[in-house]
Every structure is written in C-alpha cells, then in structure tokens.
Amino acid sequence: MNDDELERERASAHPAPAASPDSGAPFGPMPSKAAADDSASDCAALCAYVDDELPADTRAALQARLADDAGAAQRVAAWRAQKAALQTLCRADDAAASPGYVVLRRRDPWWRRAGLAAAWAVAGAGFAVAAGTLMPQWLPAGSWAMRGAADRDAAFPARDGEGFARRADVAYAVYSPEMRHPVEVRAADEAHLITWLSKRLGKPLAIPPLGEYGYALVGGRLLPGAAGPAAQFMYQNDAGARLTLYVSASGRDRDKVHLLSDGSRRTFYWSTDGMGYALSGPATEARLRTIAYEVCGALGGTSAQW
C-alpha cells in the first residue's frame, strides 16, 4: 500500500472492512499464501502480547506456550527489540529540540485569537452573559480538564490551579527563549511597568527583587489569562537563565504552593489574597523552590502555604 492507496482509504467513508484487510499489500516476506493464513491469527496474538493488549488469562496461556515454542519466543523478542528501537529512533530528537517551543512560536495566530477573545470577554458585559449561557454547550471539550464544574463558567476566573500553572508554564516556554522581544516594557521603566500592569489587573502589583539569587529584572508584559489579563515578569541571571513570575486574578484567598513539572521546566504556583502567582524556571535551577519561597513571602504569602 503506498500513499495513493492511503489517500483512497481516506476518501472512502468506511474503508477496509474487517472481512478484507489489506492482504494485497505488495510485499513478500510471507512465505506463501497458505502459510500466511495459518499463522495470521497466531501473529496477531503475538502482536497483542507484545503490546500488552491481551486479557490476563490469554496472556498467561500464551506466555506458557512461549516457553516451548522457540520460534514464537524469538519472534516476540525481535518485535520487542524493534519496538524499543523505533522508540529510540523517533524520540531521538525530542529531548534535543526543547519540545514545544519552536512550534508554539509558529502558532502565533491562535494566540492572537485567544488574546482577542479575552479582550472581547472583558469589553462586552453582554457577551459575558451570553458566554455564561453558551459555555455549558461548548465546554464539554473542556472536560478534558481534570476538574470540571468550577472551570466551566466563564464568569469565574481561573480557579483551576493547574490550568493556571499550565498557562504560566506555556507563557514561560514561549517568551523565555525570546532574544529580541522578551518583554514589552523593560526594567528601565520599572515604575511605569508596575503602574501599567497594576491598572490592567486591577490590583496593586509588586515585583520582588531576586538579586540575592543572581537574577535581575528584565521587564514584563501583559498576557491573556484564562478569564482576564495576566502579567508576566521576567528575570535573568548572568548565565542567561530566565525565570518568570506570572500573575493573574485567581479569586482564591489562599492556596498552598504546588509544583508543575513539564520536561525541562518547573513551575511553583499558589494563591494569596485573590491573586494567583506562578514562578517558572528551568529544571536546572536547583534553587527554584527557595526562590519561590522567597517570592511567595514577599507577596504576602505565609510559610503555612508550603
């Protein structure tokens, strides 16, 4: 089967019924038609065994058989090795290419759309009402989310801590590699930065100094949060490593500090006095927890949140 056939398969509504699997595929490792028929179900069972798709009893029976059947055992071993090698082959550049962020930058359009949507949500009170009514219908998609109810109503701000942390994590992944425009307002205009973002978030913000840990403020930017504006402050040390503090209204009086790990990045997040905070940094920053502790305290948090 080549790509043409793949296309045809896509075009037909119900391709390849069970009765006629693609037995006509043009390749020749099967010794003969008869032998292929004989071993087909056997091969399928071995396949399912390798992929752990068999029910427990069938699996046990097959396992017992493998002890006596050297040919089948050999086949299973070869297929397992194949599977492991395929994983190595295809996942080889996963780690090297800092997953996600290159692709994320290419996805500007929907970020802008999301931003626009957030702006509309803020601008139109009428829309908010409409959205509140419509949400239950189009948010079943959102129930991929682990927690449903609280998150389903647009009128509630980002209550879901993990959703909040993910947004912070994504914002970190998107902006921390940015060389030319890491921030909208630079640290040189710190006073303006604070005034501006405080006004947009409707709450007086503070930017905790992290000089003690070797991180200086780079600046900040405004971002669309889950249900309103969010602010991102960026810090950088001499080695070029960056941290971000992501801030958005959470509507939660006080939430404990949690950790979200995503590959090469870590995010500590919590809530204090109605504001959600997330400190993100590279997994290589061993002091991230200490820094988060410091930042949490500087922003009105208590050690009881830890």
């Binding site: 091969c43 399928a44 994983q87 996805r107 929907w110 219908q137 189009w138 959102g142 991929w144 879901d160």
Partner: protein
Amino acid sequence: MLRRPSAEFEAQVVAQLAPMRRYARALTGDAAWADDLVQDAAERALSRASSSRPDSNLRAWLLTILRHIYIDQLRGRREIAVDDESAPWRTLEAPHGEVDGLVLRDLQRALYLLPAAQREVLLLVCVEELSYQDASTVLGVPAGTVMSRLSRAREHLRVLLDRGPAQDPARHAAPLRVVGTTR
C-alpha cells in the same frame, strides 16, 4: 467567539505538541513539512475544541486530525519517483541515541521502505503507544485490521532488517516514491 477553546483544553493540546511533531516527522520524513502539519493540526483542533469527545483519547483525536491533513496535503503535492541516492532516508541525519547510530539508520531506512499504511500503524502503536482501539480510530479501520496490519508490518520490518534493503522484493514491486512539493 464560540471558537475560543478553554484554557484547560489549550494546555492539553499544547502538552501533545511533542508527540504530534514526532508522529508528523516520522510520517513525512520532512521536518519542515512536519512542523506545518503540527501547526495546522493544532489550529484545527483548537478551533474544533467542541467536537472532541471527553471520553476518548486526546492524543488519538489530535493524531487523527493531523493524519487527515497529511493525506489532504498529499493530494496537493506532486509525487516524483526518485533514485536511491536522493531518497529521503539518505538525506535524513542519522539519529544520535543510546542504541548504535548505524543500527538506527538501518531501521530508519527500513521504516521508510515499508508501505505507508504499515509504517503508520507501527508509529502509532510502538512509538505513540496508542491502544489498538485508539489506533483504529486514528486510521479509520477496524481494530482487527490494525492488528493484522501491525503483525505484517513487524514481520516485514524484521525481514528488511535481517537481509538488508537490497534484497527486498517490495522495492521492485512498488517503486519508491518521495513526495515533493509544487508549492
């Protein structure tokens, strides 16, 4: 405005970008094309958030979208028969991994010698670790077909690796093709 996906959904899709890209790269053997595919698939997924079903596997749903776009794009691209020297596995960089690079290069070459349908099912089950059920959803074929196709793919790959691509009769039966763009 109904197209605005929830933050949760967005995050879930973002978390699947790496597997999507991996699958797209393996499917196309072309990094740039793969990135385009991932972008298109992610956009389409986000604009159709409401059509995903919460009870099914998100990764499978995303890979289905990606695959449909891939097949659609195949139509828009001109297929050119090529000789071995410019075949995709010649120009793909040998991967660096714990397993011997040469072994992997042989595997890579063999993988691209497989018929597309066999390659796909191997990638979905072995690399993306989808269940047979999810793979059957992605491919739009019954689970039984997934299993039979998979076992044939495995045997085919084993034979290719055992005796090397030079003796593979499939090469003569179905001439190799590489997909070039006309855009």
